[in-house]
């Protein structure tokens, strides 16, 4: 599917927010992702998965990405007006639960962007949102304003150069959890594992996982993660099609 680049904003030294406009309306939910074709010609045969960060209509979306390698570097070079080949939104996003009154969104690094639209959807339903977000250092901090309009934001950096020193789990004390109905977390694997360790048994929630992907549409079995089934034993399920969001208690880490 072809989309058009509407805007390219730099958020930090290596993170960009790309606004795209799809040709047609597309159903979406927070936590889904786009599978983005990068480069020209046949050099790059794999698309890059980037989460939906914001949706201002059913066809205008923001993708926030960190420049990591060749593909995201190429992406950062796209200018407004140029065409972008994207599949999506794909996967299963964050399920919202009627009856929730207060939820926590927990994000680390480029795991923060998908929480923006999630927090908006939650607020729209009148649910309170508190955000706990962590970055490496002050110059990596982003999207605080976007979250601050929706509820309290607890900012941490590993070196303490902005917000509180520490990692997101350091903010998840018992006091803080009191009154929360659910959490939603997105970030690097070690963070998700720590969050799971801290919150399991205390608060139900969801983790949005990352795995290297082939197809992005569920046919190659490239992106699997061990997920506990009904009998508690982990089976490989597809992050792209069965996820990327899974109930936190079902996610197994090796």
């Amino acid at each position: 599917m072809m989309a058009q680049v509407v805007e390219q904003e730099r958020l930090t030294r290596d993170v960009f927010r790309l606004w795209i406009e799809m040709e047609h309306d597309a159903p979406w939910s927070p936590g889904q992702f786009f599978h983005v074709r990068v480069g020209e010609g046949l050099d790059h045969v794999l698309r890059r998965p980037i989460s939906l960060s914001e949706a201002v209509s059913d066809r205008r979306f923001a993708l926030v990405y960190r420049v990591m390698g060749a593909g995201t570097r190429w992406l950062a070079g796209r200018r407004p007006g140029s065409a972008l080949d994207v599949l999506g939104p794909l996967g299963r996003g964050f399920p919202l639960h009627p009856g929730d009154e207060r939820v926590l969104v927990i994000g680390g690094g480029v795991g923060v962007p998908p929480l923006i639209q999630l927090a908006r959807e939650v607020r729209r339903r009148g649910v309170e949102v508190a955000a706990v977000i962590g970055f490496r250092e002050a110059r990596d901090v982003m999207l605080v304003d976007e979250l601050a309009t929706l509820g309290p934001v607890h900012l941490l950096t590993e070196d303490g150069s902005a917000g509180m020193p520490g990692r997101v789990t350091d903010a998840l004390g018992e006091d803080f959890l009191r009154g929360a109905d659910r959490f939603y977390a997105c970030g690097p694997s070690p963070m998700l594992q720590a969050v799971q360790g801290k919150l399991s048994g205390h608060l139900p929630g969801y983790l949005s996982l990352e795995e290297r992907m082939g197809c992005g549409i569920g046919v190659c079995m490239g992106c699997v993660h061990p997920i506990r089934g009904g009998d508690g034993s982990p089976v490989y399920r597809r992050v792209c099609a069965d996820g990327p969001v899974f109930p936190a208690e079902e996610v197994a880490f090796s």
Binding site: L87, C215, G218, V219, C220, M221, A241
Partner: protein, 309 residues
């Protein structure tokens, strides 16, 4: 506008067109049916299926390479009985032949899987993936030894009620010897090529990217190797070849036909674009029309006559 006859015959099976997905790049079809009408395919080739459920390898299972990719899925599949019961019946509605890719670790496993599959009315042909390591022979691959390849082929042929294609591994010194061995053993056709063994290293973490260290290289990068092997083999065997390895366009498909393939399979290109198979089919038809080719069959082996002739 000229009407192009796209049909081909493969070991007695008539395909209304010669384009099919390559095994492992299409799962069992369910997801792909959201992207296009699967009845447009010449055939459907499903994921490598084993006797028992296989969980597959740990992740990362895929890595990108220049114009290609590595995969080490490790044959994740629910096992032959569930495939027959839960996956294949859903494909009936498309009215195209279904080819099931069969894998195993010992001859008996291939044979039993093949026996059960060939008993299903939903299976039109089998494709033996002989690139798997043979656990009895210390992990040596069936696909690299002509005698072992012939043995597994003959054993499967003995129980199969449907045609048997043998999928050759390119990781061999002499692909022609392999092809001839399985032809003599009764193979009804060949699929070539499977992936080349490769690896990538994550230099930041100082370890292989794939959890399995090595993986199978596919995509445009391997196209020249596939064409060479098909060209060499089609000269000396009489059974048809399903050609694959890096096909991403109608022109690529034409190249494979001219090298000697009778049909083509599309793998990695599905990841570039979910509609790759039908797009390639449309481009192939258009190419034929623009070049006055009335039947795609005419292209098979057209470059065999070679240079300066």
């Amino acid at each position: 506008m000229m009407d192009v006859d796209l049909s081909v015959e493969l070991a007695g099976i008539r395909l209304h067109n010669p384009v099919m997905p390559a095994s492992g790049c299409f799962s069992y079809g369910r997801e792909m049916s959201r992207w296009y009408d699967l009845s447009r395919l010449g055939a459907i080739v499903v994921k490598g299926t084993t006797l028992e459920l296989r969980p597959g390898n740990p992740t990362p299972r895929v890595a990108e390479t220049p114009s290609g990719m590595l995969n080490a899925i490790g044959l994740q599949n629910p096992g032959v009985d569930r495939v027959i019961a839960e996956e294949l019946p859903a494909l009936r509605q498309y009215g195209v032949p279904v080819i099931v890719n069969v894998a195993g670790s010992v001859v008996e496993e291939y044979v039993e899987t093949a026996r059960r599959l060939s008993g299903s009315r939903d299976v039109a042909a089998l494709e033996l993936n002989i690139s798997c390591p043979n656990v009895r022979c210390g992990g040596m691959h069936f696909g690299t030894d002509p005698d072992m390849a012939a043995e597994v082929t003959a054993a499967v042929k003995a129980v199969s009620r449907v045609p048997v294609f043998v999928k050759l591994s390119p990781n061999v010194t002499d692909i022609v010897a392999l092809a001839q061995a399985v032809e003599r053993a009764g193979a009804d056709g060949l699929s070539m090529i499977n992936t080349l063994v490769g690896m990538r290293i994550d230099i930041e973490r100082r370890r292989p990217i794939l959890a399995n260290f090595f993986g199978g290289l596919s995509g445009p990068a391997i196209k020249p190797v596939a064409l060479r092997m098909i060209y060499e083999v089609s000269r000396v065997v009489r059974i048809p070849i399903i050609g694959m390895g890096g096909i991403t366009s109608g022109e690529d498909a034409v190249e494979f036909f001219m090298a000697g393939a009778s049909a083509v399979a599309v793998g990695t290109a599905n990841f570039i674009k979910p509609t790759a198979c039908v797009d390639i089919l449309d481009e192939l038809a258009a190419w034929c029309r623009n070049h006055g080719v009335r039947a795609v069959r005419e292209l098979i082996g057209a470059a065999q006559k070679g240079w300066n002739q």
